[in-house]
Subunit: 274 residues, 3 copies
């Protein structure tokens, strides 16, 4: 049950280490606090192993990667693997430039990720980089829609099975698969794309959900996607006609802060495809 | 028409590469999304050329420059020049320290800027650095006021003509000149100065406006200044008596999100001096 | 009087140099503007001495320290000492990892701090690092409560006396001591801990208060703690039932923006122990 996933986060208050971009880092920290988790940010190579060691989950986001932080991501990822922590990769901008693509692929070779979360374009880039070209262009277009949904589900499920980790593709329709079952999630609003960092925030949230639900990771990942989308719906309902994306940003985090398990259970709109 | 400038941004949704400071970067990203543009942030030397190549405009802001990002600014600027992109310089803190001043001047020598936007003190520093001392001290005081307006207009116009780029000086009265015509703009509120980053946000906005209006750059730059000032007026009108600069910050971005061409046309307060 | 401390900040508008983390830097800048001060952020070794030289106070926060910024902290701290500026250390995460702990201790050896502000766990780590183990474990638990208050006051007072600087320990009950007198402050709300960076913001605010009240530093430090806590109380009173930590963050900065000396004087809840 999604409700239980949410409640475990509030009860266990998992500590999440974030190596993330400086654009949206404040919102990532606040959404982690909003859901009941605790964030720590550290990205220096001298610091990341110690910090990750005291956490339960690690969120690696390459949104403003640089020469100093890439080695830190590798060190932290390996240490987190050693300790059996939940590790998430958010390959921001993979496909937009060689450095980002290569870094994401290299991280995937060196670190065992529990979940990779990105938009369809980023995930397709990673699939291609791993030689998983089947389905990339034919079945998964640049946006997942009702029309191409069946092909997209197959693509995501096969990629998850091939890589042995959860793949979460977020967009108008969200897909979360562990290679067997695939959650098809229809929460959220298009205006969420007009806020910087809703994807980064979801990656933080998802890491917290996995960390608090290590034995139920697929459902935990799906629950975090439903929670984020539902918060987008609730947040929008409180906007005044003169308010825009800046206030909306706060309203979404506020909605995560107030969200309880029953509301999540009732508001989640998803189906599970096998 | 200013209206057309705004509508071109919404229609073309220009992609803007920002190498900017970590203090105000989130607000810069959100204001770019609010106006209809798309932001990308990237500042590593291995990343910036690829990223700038997929964009239409480049916004360079030296607010928290460092040894790693200065070379990235040069690389990105040169690549953007090669590709004919719109390039803006925001020389934050030029004059406050040697590293900032020298970096700004060096960028001006190595990169062809379409527009330089700063406060009067920063712009005077750059003028001096280029040996354009005439008018710097005599005519342009530390703030542009109705009393020294005529001298300030001459200073800005001559600097723009000498450098062959648009100069935008923002403050209580804003001046935007291409060396021929000079917009004198009186939108905005003094309380905007009590928010961190309204200048940085304007630089992002201005880059988007230029990128979407490459054949009408002076008017586009002026339109972005009017839009920002007008958003400051609209945002203030929605503040409760207990709200302050943090909420005001959001209200301004919200107002940019809601702003349409007619409202801009009607609310803009400017004159053009030849 | 606390009132006078606040009014001096508004009147003198001190310029504060911040070398701080990229998680909460925007809020630190906005709270400094809210209280009437002016923030400058600079963290490159080529930049920090020039920037600190034009300021009156320096706020060093190690929240996202790295190999490049640690030398900058040392350079800026020494220059600020030379110039007689107010210097604050916020040892974020000291005790959570060797790099943070060692950096904080090294800064304390190389730079003369006017005030060190942290939570009880960070301050205890620094006390241990300086061989001041007496009282660390016995008297000061992981949270200052009414039950262990007397021991905690002794610990903080003796540490302040030993180091010759003001020690500010913030939590449910805040303690501010110069080694003689100790302010015991009971403003604030527990929900402030669900916002990222209220501690960082207080460090910025405290630096501004000290800079504007150099001859009355203990009271200035205490006044900033009361102001922050009171802003937390006022901000909470304006929250709607659907609002959470993101909006609360803005409301606190807004409350600092609107706070006047009389309200502070009336709302401050403290006692002074000798």
């Amino acid at each position: 049950m999604l409700k239980e996933c949410l409640e475990n986060v509030r009860m266990k208050s998992p500590l999440v280490h974030n190596i993330t971009n400086y654009v949206t880092v404040n919102d990532v920290a606040n959404i982690l606090l909003a859901c009941g988790a605790s964030p720590i940010m550290a990205d220096d190579r001298n610091d990341v192993e110690d910090i990750t060691a005291i956490c339960g989950g690690l969120n690696i986001n390459i949104g403003t990667l640089n020469q100093n932080t890439v080695p830190s991501m590798l060190l932290a990822g390996k240490k987190a693997n050693e300790l059996g922590h939940q590790v998430l990769l958010d390959p921001v901008g993979a496909g937009a430039g060689t450095f980002r693509t290569e870094t994401a692929l290299n991280l995937m070779r060196e670190v065992r990720f529990d979940v990779i979360r990105g938009n369809i374009s980023e995930i397709k880039t990673l699939a291609r980089g791993f030689g998983r070209t089947k389905g990339v262009d034919a079945d998964a277009a640049d946006a997942v829609t009702e029309d191409n949904l069946s092909g997209a589900v197959t693509f995501v499920r096969e990629m998850a099975a091939g890589l042995g980790c959860i793949i979460a593709v977020t967009g108008a329709i969200d897909l979360v698969s562990d290679g067997n079952s695939t959650y098809v999630i229809r929460n959220g609003r298009p205006e969420m794309g007009q806020i910087t960092g809703t994807g980064c925030q979801l990656s933080g949230l998802m890491t917290a959900y996995l960390t608090a639900n290590p034995d139920n990771r697929l459902e935990a990942a799906a629950a975090s996607v439903c929670a984020m989308g539902l918060a987008g719906e609730i947040g929008w309902s409180h906007l005044e006609s003169y308010e825009g994306n800046a206030t909306y940003r706060n309203r979404i985090i506020d909605a995560i802060y107030r969200l309880d398990g029953d509301t999540l259970e009732k508001g989640a709109r998803y189906e599970i495809r096998q």
